[in-house]
Symmetry: C2
Subunit: 150 residues, 2 copies
DNA sequence: TCTAATTAGGATAACAATAGTCCTATTTTC
DNA sequence: GAAAATAGGACTATTGTTATCCTAATTAGA
């Protein structure tokens, strides 16, 4: 129900990959084969990221994508919103108010919940997805113990 | 993408209604007409809530549903899980590991994100959805200002 | 005992969203 | 000019959500 779409997951994987290989442009094909993803479908994610300015691209042979900005400034929410707007937990959060909106006493508490959810994703950054740096590793371990994750 | 299903939303609305009318059993029909929801579809939600023990039911004429437990002990997560298991933000969180699982460096950071999301929903209770009590109203106002909600 | 109101739940249809593919155009380096 | 790459429209397949329909079982009360 809160499942991230594959398009989003592919986007995060690609961004993670680009973060590691910052420097020369990386082709969609390289990312796809390296991560075992569908090239065609991954391309859609990359093109969305491009549109939102999270990556920049270079066409032609020797072309590819590279990150715009640093991993500690790019939030998961940035990536999610780049590939698909819908982060509203209920209709009235993003789209126009629903038919029940006038007399709905769920709307207000839901907006609080929405803010909390938003915070989780805006406060998690690409850097937190980096491949086990020391600080990150420590944080992970700590958090896992705290939350009883294997 | 993080949209709650209607089944979940109906369940929360129903629970909210039951919380107000705690005491005598309330029929699905009354809830449906009172809230302007489809009786048939709402019934599915109520039956799921029943299965999970969040409400108890009485069949026959004069029957209906009533809350089990107090609103401050029933979390939104309880309700979500009652109507639909899938709360995993990625496949490997709930179902069996996906094909990429072995070499996936997204899995670990995702599990942290999952915990944060879970926390939001396990730490929000039916009582927080109550119809504007004084304390709740204050909290709402406070939180809204803090988060820039209209 | 019969009736009406109610919950329980299976089956299924209608609709929407997601996932994935295919094809063509454009750009760029060599 | 050829090859490799991005850009993106169009389309299909699959899955998930939403909703309805129908029937059975239960229970209070006349
Ligand atoms: S919370 Fe209320 S107003 Fe918002 S979508 Fe749900 S029913 Fe409509
Ligand atoms: S995070 Fe990795 S292991 Fe988990 S579902 Fe996504 S690709 Fe598979």
């Amino acid at each position: 129900m809160f499942r991230l779409s594959k398009k989003t997951e592919y986007a995060i994987l690609a961004m993670q990959y680009l973060a590691e290989k910052s420097g020369e442009p990386v082709s969609a094909k390289e990312i796809a084969t390296s991560l075992g993803l569908s090239f065609e479908f991954l391309s859609k994610s990359l093109q969305s990221l491009m549109k939102s300015g999270l990556v920049s691209s270079q066409q032609g042979i020797k072309g590819g994508y590279h990150l715009v900005g640093t991993p500690d400034m790019i939030s998961v929410m940035d990536i999610i919103q780049a590939v698909s707007e819908n982060v509203g937990i209920v209709e009235c959060m993003t789209e126009s108010d629903c038919s029940r909106s006038g007399s709905c006493n769920l709307k207000d508490p839901m907006s609080i919940l929405q803010s909390k959810v938003n915070e989780v994703f805006t406060q998690t950054f690409l850097a937190d997805f980096a491949n086990e740096t020391e600080s990150n590793q420590f944080f992970n371990k700590d958090f896992k113990i705290l939350n009883g994750i294997n």
